[in-house]
């Protein structure tokens, strides 16, 4: 006999009713149905096992996993009316606590809902902001010579070492390793935030790689150029697509972030942003070859661009969770950061530079959440799929568009100073 899952609303709480077998073969379907609930933003649910005739350790594994996922987002999953057989096996497994003890309360507003200091609904997106560190600003810094990229003209003397400090977020071209020889063939897009970093190596493996700093261990990267922000974030901006509209474009989110970033409620001219969000599709590109030792190349010119960059006009990483790191500003922007910032919107009034790391789907907790804890949970959970440079292509008619998200959290800080230290030669 197979398994069937039906979904109903009981007293305002979604309930999945499982009839049939929760065995090795069928239980993964339950896992998928539970993931779907979490994806819809549901954080409280019931699992009715009255008609479940059979449960094996594989079924228990799915229950445990689901239970933990709900707890991780501050919600609850309760097993109700287990059949005698299910109860027997759950008891043997020492999991009596999974059984319905209390009625599930209807979903409540986030506990820190009263701490919302700013709200905005614009372009089909609802924003809410919380104060993180009132009046905090980020110091930003450009290191290296990004203008060497189009000709792939980087040499050993352009490389710098970047330590994964927990109060620094950064993006650029880099590789894990501490020597030119170790990194030379692997330089690609990277991003770093909260003591974690992800790289997209350009060697044959093509497998994105990540590192997380721990108590005594601070990993470092070798970078060809980087854009970094240091300091504390002023605000957390939560967003969600509103009014039944589709997913929200990066430009809309960035506009909301700038609007929320100003210390006295006014819009900030420029801000550093860390975004953790459920992706509806990322539009981006990644280097195929390390941009070193050439000098005569033209990375961005057709048809040569095909040898250097992987780019798909179709959005990738739908149904993923993305960590996006970058800087946005209203044009015009003073040199030197200007050369790193590209138009985000169709009329070029908003410029920015963002890299994204895509991870397997994980639900995000609602309300106020901590940046470092959220990012580290993603990195430590594994499941890094890739790192890419996000693109915006608003050409009328033929433009590929931009990256889109359904909901997420942005930590934002207005930018304080602009500094470009001496060439690190």
């Amino acid at each position: 006999m197979a398994m069937e899952i039906t979904r109903a609303d009981v007293d305002g709480c979604p309930e999945l009713r499982v009839s049939g077998r929760l065995d090795s073969y069928w239980s993964r379907h339950l896992g998928e149905a539970i993931d779907e609930l979490l994806r819809e933003g549901i954080h409280r649910a019931r699992l009715n096992l009255a008609d479940t005739s059979y449960i094996s350790s594989a079924g228990i594994r799915v229950l445990l996993q689901a239970y933990k996922q709900f707890v991780a987002v501050g919600g609850a999953l309760v097993v109700v009316e287990p059949s005698a057989r299910v109860r027997e096996v759950l008891d043997l497994a020492g999991l009596g606590t999974l059984l319905g003890t209390a009625a599930v309360a209807p979903a409540k507003e986030a506990a820190r809902g009263d701490a919302v200091v700013w709200r905005l609904e614009e372009d089909g997106c609802a924003f809410e902001a919380y104060d993180c560190e009132r009046g905090a600003r980020l110091a930003w810094r450009v290191e290296g010579s990004p203008e060497l990229l189009p000709a792939a003209a980087f040499e050993e003397r352009h490389a710098a070492t970047f330590k994964l400090s927990r109060d620094v977020m950064a993006l650029g071209i880099g590789a894990f390793g501490d020597s030119w020889a170790a990194c030379r063939e692997r330089f690609g897009e990277f991003l770093a935030v909260g003591g974690c970093a992800a790289c997209q190596p350009t060697d044959e493996t093509g497998c994105a790689d990540d590192m997380v700093s721990t108590g005594t261990f601070t990993p470092s990267l070798m970078t060809l150029h980087s854009l970094s922000c240091q300091g504390k974030f002023a605000r957390l901006v939560r967003f969600e697509s509103a009014g039944g509209g589709g997913p929200v474009g990066l430009t809309t989110i960035v506009r909301g972030c700038l609007a929320a970033a100003g210390p006295a409620g006014e819009a900030a001219p420029a801000a550093g942003v860390v975004l953790v969000a459920e992706s509806a599709g990322l539009l981006g590109a990644a280097l195929k070859r390390p941009p070193v030792g050439n000098g005569n190349a033209a990375l961005f010119r057709h048809p040569e661009v095909r040898q250097w960059l992987s780019f798909s006009p179709v959005r990738s990483h739908t149904r993923a969770v993305a960590v996006v790191v970058g800087v946005a500003a209203r044009a015009p922007v003073p040199e030197p950061p200007a050369k790193l910032l590209r138009p985000l919107d169709a009329d070029g009034k908003l410029v920015g530079h963002f890299h994204a790391a895509a991870f397997g789907y994980r639900p995000l907790r609602k309300g106020y959440i901590e940046m470092e804890a959220t990012v580290r949970r993603l990195f430590e959970g594994g499941g890094l799929q890739g790192v890419l440079h996000l693109l915006a292509d608003h050409r009328p008619g033929c433009g590929a568009g931009e990256s889109e998200f359904t909901r997420g959290a942005c930590w934002v800080g207005p930018l304080e100073s602009i500094s470009s230290p001496e060439q690190t030669s």
Partner: protein, 154 residues
Amino acid sequence: MAQPEEHGGSSESAIVLDSDLKELERLEAFIDAFCERENLPEKTRYHLHVAIEELVVNAIRHGACDPPQGAIRLAMRMEAGEVRLTLCDTGRPFDPLSVPAPDLTASVVERPVGGLGVHLVRCLIPDIRYERREARNWLYLAKPVVADDDDSAL
């Protein structure tokens, strides 16, 4: 291939399975047919289903049986009021009795997600013996018949 074989006097039933989760359906039907023939009580049937599935799934998932065709053989018979099972597979050496018992007192959130299968088998089947010979894993299990109203058996 892999038809249940009948063995005369001892009334043993046996089935040969490929190392493939799709075989679970056939395994289920085989256990059902045996329990039906021996007229076993409901609870005993359920315990047999859970325990055998755990062991077979383990062999399929972790045994790396090569080739997968016909890699697992299960024989069942009645003897002295017990169900006697012999399970044999060509997978990597694995003695389920060597698996440490999970910490059932840990909170649900701290619990590792895996490792419960062997624990369930050991709860449901009191008498298990393991042997490795002829490059195969051999498990001999004896399950006393449990009456449906008997709760003490657990």
